[in-house]
């Protein structure tokens, strides 16, 4: 890889040990993946935040680098934590877990990283532009920014996104290059897509089959932001899809040729089979919405449906602190709470320790959550539409 004189000096240790190692990490990844040079990135998004995911080794690493003076050079957002960092006591998070989680948040804050704690940075104040190079690491946020916004990021790991944050650059390879953004599989959708859950089921089926390749969808007539975030999240969970195109919907689709690709088709039967396969339980002990983090529109919808109702089982709506703030102002939070539900900020069901909180079966409308909950949280899952879930618990 070609390095500038200034970059060579960082490698020789001129800017200190932290910068030397972080820059070396980027150079090494660039060499492994055949990058020609470093390119500036507009923002970073760092995963590996929940104490449940990174454990004591992660806490020690982050505190060490924070103490050595590592500082973010570009706007950097953080993935969800293992708990609501303000209302954790109310959610019965074990204090031993909370103590470690707060140490992690403090270390990030000390490094100048915005402790946004969300998987939807684009809904919470970090919105890249079309074509902008970024270094993000949460799989659904990667998919959304590449596919729906048309920004450019590889699937960064926690440390490589941190390195991009400290250095302001990323190695130029993979999805940063035009030629690697072309579709590899044509997906014909012959299924009715109405609810966000339908998009989650579609994403699950397609991700399983295309793995880490780039699908090009035909037959999706319309989809809103929430549905696209659900689709991308599910494909990134059941597969490793970092970019997808949808004919007449996503911004790079018209630049792509869809002829001569391997083909795949998805029918109503495939979606029905997916719902039934992923539903390993029958009656939920808890319903959790907001994987990826709920938008204000999703919260408004839930709030309207719950007006004047009483819930028999707990309901969590996971979102970012920023969106919760807006929901508070509008009274959505109060309506949901009056029904017996909660708006939980900063965390989600996948990274919080719900298995230690007495829950065995979780109801979700997210293909991604349905994919991860059995393994990460030892949960049985009820995967269906929002309305059906709310009927089960009211």
């Amino acid at each position: 890889m070609h390095l500038t004189n200034a970059e060579e000096r960082i490698l020789s240790g001129e800017s200190g040990e932290v910068m030397e190692r972080m820059f070396r990490l980027l150079v090494s990844l660039g060499d492994i993946y055949g990058a020609d040079r470093m390119i500036p990135v507009g923002s970073a998004q760092v995963a590996g935040v929940s104490y449940k995911s990174i454990g004591d080794p992660g806490v020690e690493f982050l505190e060490d680098y924070a103490n050595k003076g590592a500082v973010a050079k570009i706007v950097t957002f953080l993935n969800p934590a293992g708990m609501d960092i303000e209302d954790w006591q109310e959610l019965n998070i074990p204090p031993s877990f909370a103590e470690k989680q707060l140490r992690i948040m403090n270390a990030f804050k000390k490094m100048g990283i915005v402790i946004s704690a969300t998987c939807t940075p684009y809904l919470a104040g970090n919105l890249p532009r079309f074509g902008e190079h970024i270094a993000w690491s949460e799989s659904s946020a990667i998919s959304f920014s590449n596919s729906v916004i048309g920004a450019r990021t590889n699937r960064e790991g926690g440390p490589s996104a941190l390195a991009a944050s400290f250095c302001g650059v990323t190695p130029n390879y993979g999805l940063h290059l035009d030629e690697n953004r072309r579709p590899q599989v044509l997906v014909d959708v012959n299924a009715t897509l109405e609810d966000t859950a339908d998009f989650g089921a579609l994403g699950y089926v397609v991700g399983k089959q295309v793995k880490n390749r780039i699908p090009y969808f035909r037959g999706i007539k319309d989809a809103d932001t929430d549905q696209l975030k659900g689709l991308g999240a599910a494909m990134a969970a059941s597969g490793a899809v970092a970019l997808y195109h949808i004919e007449n919907l996503t911004p790079e689709a018209h630049l792509m040729k869809s002829e001569g690709l391997e083909r795949l088709s998805v029918s109503d039967t495939d979606l029905a089979e997916t719902f039934s396969k992923l539903s390993t339980g029958k009656e939920p002990d808890i319903v959790i919405i907001g994987c990826p983090h709920a938008s204000l529109k999703e919260i408004m919808t839930i709030s309207r449906k719950l007006e004047g109702k009483k819930l028999k089982k707990p309901l969590w709506v996971c979102t970012s602190r920023m969106v919760k703030e807006a929901a508070n102002r509008m009274g959505f939070t109060q309506t949901i709470e009056a029904a017996g539900g909660k708006i939980v900020a900063d965390t989600c069901m996948v990274v919080s320790p719900i298995e230690n909180m007495g829950y065995k079966t979780t109801g979700v409308n997210s293909g991604k959550a349905a994919n991860y909950l059995p393994g990460f949280c030892k949960q049985n899952v009820v995967f269906t539409k929002l309305d059906t879930l709310l009927e089960k618990v009211t």
């Binding site: 040990e17 190692r21 070396r24 990490l25 090494s28 990844l29 060499d31 492994i32 590996g48 995911s53 990174i54 454990g55 004591d56 080794p57 992660g58 020690e60 690493f61 060490d64 790991g157 926690g158 440390p159 490589s160």
Partner: protein
């Protein structure tokens, strides 16, 4: 003495005794960062310490948190002197670089046995092997 030529992942030069695993190593859940001991049940190196050894294995496996375990080993003075791989994937590369542990890959690791005396010049990307006198 046989000299093998590979690729620099993390620079540095050290000399020491090798500890070889023919299986991939997952550092998270595989090695305890505080004691440096292999804790993965049924792993061929279970119970062995990596401290002060040149750890030779084909490639990494498992959780990305493995990078932080390598860092933790170094911080707790339990780290291997160097890492030699056939193919260093990003988890091990990240950990070795963050921790400052010399690391070389693209080395035919099948030529190395536990107990061999190695000189690892990770900056030059070479590994020199001296077999013990039999």
């Amino acid at each position: 003495m046989e000299v093998l030529k590979g690729r620099t992942i993390s620079p540095g030069k050290v000399e020491g005794e090798s500890l070889v695993s023919r299986e991939p190593i997952g550092f998270y859940g595989g090695i305890d960062a505080k004691t440096g001991l292999f804790i993965e049940k049924g792993h061929e190196l279970e119970g062995k310490s990596v401290k002060g050894k040149i750890l030779v294995f084909p490639c990494g496996k498992g959780s990305t948190v493995g990078s932080y375990v390598i860092y933790g080993l170094a911080k707790n003075n339990q780290a291997p002197l160097a890492i030699v791989n056939k193919e260093t994937e990003t988890i091990v590369a990240t950990g070795a670089i963050l921790a400052g542990v010399p690391c070389v890959d693209r080395i035919p690791v099948e030529k190395i046995s536990t107990g061999d005396h190695l000189i690892v010049d990770a900056t030059a990307g070479t590994v020199s092997i001296t077999k013990p006198n039999l």
